[in-house]
Symmetry: C2
Subunit: 313 residues, 2 copies
Amino acid sequence: MKLAFADIETAARRIAPHAQVTPVLRSRSLDELAGCRIAFKCENFQRAGAFKFRGACNAVWALADADAAHGVVTHSSGNHGAALALAAKTRGIAAHVVVPEGAVAAKVAAIRAYGATLHVCAPTLVAREEAAARIARETGAVLVHPFTNEQVIAGQGTAALELLREAGELDALIAPIGGGGLIGGSAIAAKGVFPPIRILAAEPEGAADAFESMRRGVRVTDIVPDTICDGLRATFGEINFALLREYGVEVLPVSDAQTAAAMRLVFERLKIVIEPSSAVVLAAILRHRERFAGLRVGAILSGGNVDLDHLPW
Amino acid sequence: MKLAFADIETAARRIAPHAQVTPVLRSRSLDELAGCRIAFKCENFQRAGAFKFRGACNAVWALADADAAHGVVTHSSGNHGAALALAAKTRGIAAHVVVPEGAVAAKVAAIRAYGATLHVCAPTLVAREEAAARIARETGAVLVHPFTNEQVIAGQGTAALELLREAGELDALIAPIGGGGLIGGSAIAAKGVFPPIRILAAEPEGAADAFESMRRGVRVTDIVPDTICDGLRATFGEINFALLREYGVEVLPVSDAQTAAAMRLVFERLKIVIEPSSAVVLAAILRHRERFAGLRVGAILSGGNVDLDHLPW
């Protein structure tokens, strides 16, 4: 399978009964500050609080009945784990989520609240992958990877599809990059609706594997992430790197201080709650303002699951 | 003039070119927590960040050209001052705002940013009223009181009008009470659309002049406010008291601790930024849950102008 625009459209139809069509917000004062016109796609209002529900929901509902009957499994203590648990619940199938020892209690509680079975493992990537593989073997559950699964990538693209269809022609689209599922799906969707659009990705300087990979022309996988953007610490995959190159995505790095300031601006001006991993898009627009001067910009605010006791300003 | 439903409808038409039709949001998890079904009218997304723009805009645009030419004046360092400044700007007339010495710098800056002329006075109610009256005499500007002005009250009612028309039949409507402009306009609007609806007001225990007035049957004006709800510290007026009695409004007191907890819940579950003066409505629903059990409830979240450096949890 090579992902194409038709896959995004199929995903949009498939998740329509379950996912929210999230609002697009604008702010006069942020436009003045940024020197461009920004349409913010607010995935913080998505079910389970992040765009991740789109991809998880598409993956779950794309399964044949016989496969779905055995449930799904993933290893993620973050938004994808909660999203997959909720997606499985919408289809009435089992979800297994592998979480590392020491995972944030509130996030684990959210995954459990959606009805998933939790499996605790050692806090290493190898241990998590092994645990997920073992559960898949033992139960027959289908592994749904958070960003290399093609149905997940297609589902993530539905946010950009809605944005382009609501906001009309845009000169540029920017989304955060972590594992690369969102930016890949967004690129396919946006170029499919309006081919001249430019695709940009915002990435924390402390987890700049995509930026470095594009610069060097080979996928860099040895970066140890250090950023407040807990949703953007993953190392992106081969398929995600291939999509970045295919769609000519430009990666814009931002510092955590810039992200924190941008996050505060969104709270203050848009009056919405977003997480640091979302704020990187506004931070990138403000830091690299020459790239956006006078343009019509679509910006995907990816989620709103933030620790309100530890806001970063 | 005795305010009637037709005045709300007139106000809605008058402000339509300028005001936002704000979204109505719902949350499955808050409904479960509260034991009722809540439609939140999100005035934090209103221009200038609060419902106050509706009333100010209606008052400004209701003026005859000859009167409007001299501008408008008010004494309010809070949301009404900013709202009147912006409303005057939409009509291209002057706005004078009297602010007390020591007013919050950020709020004063916002009023100035909308183009109003600031007049600093001593920080007493008498000094503010005298300054506003003097400016009115000297300039011919029309005084627009924040909550006793009838066009202001009619304008505030347009939020409830939109809510009832979007959400359909509701068993109860709850809004915060400070000066009483919002609850008065809301009662007229809601009863006009759906007469069986019950009207409730949420009030901080530390500024319970409306609660005490309804209990005693006379308007209580000697309460010194002590609450985190900076928008609800005003002593309500005669016309506002009369409307409370006419529409049988039940006033529900809440503590500041309950308000802070409810505000955090709104950030966490609705993913929106509101101020303490808004959070009182959810606090009241949760504290007085027996009043709302199983009902379809409309709740007006009045604004989102909060000091993000000093959140109350």
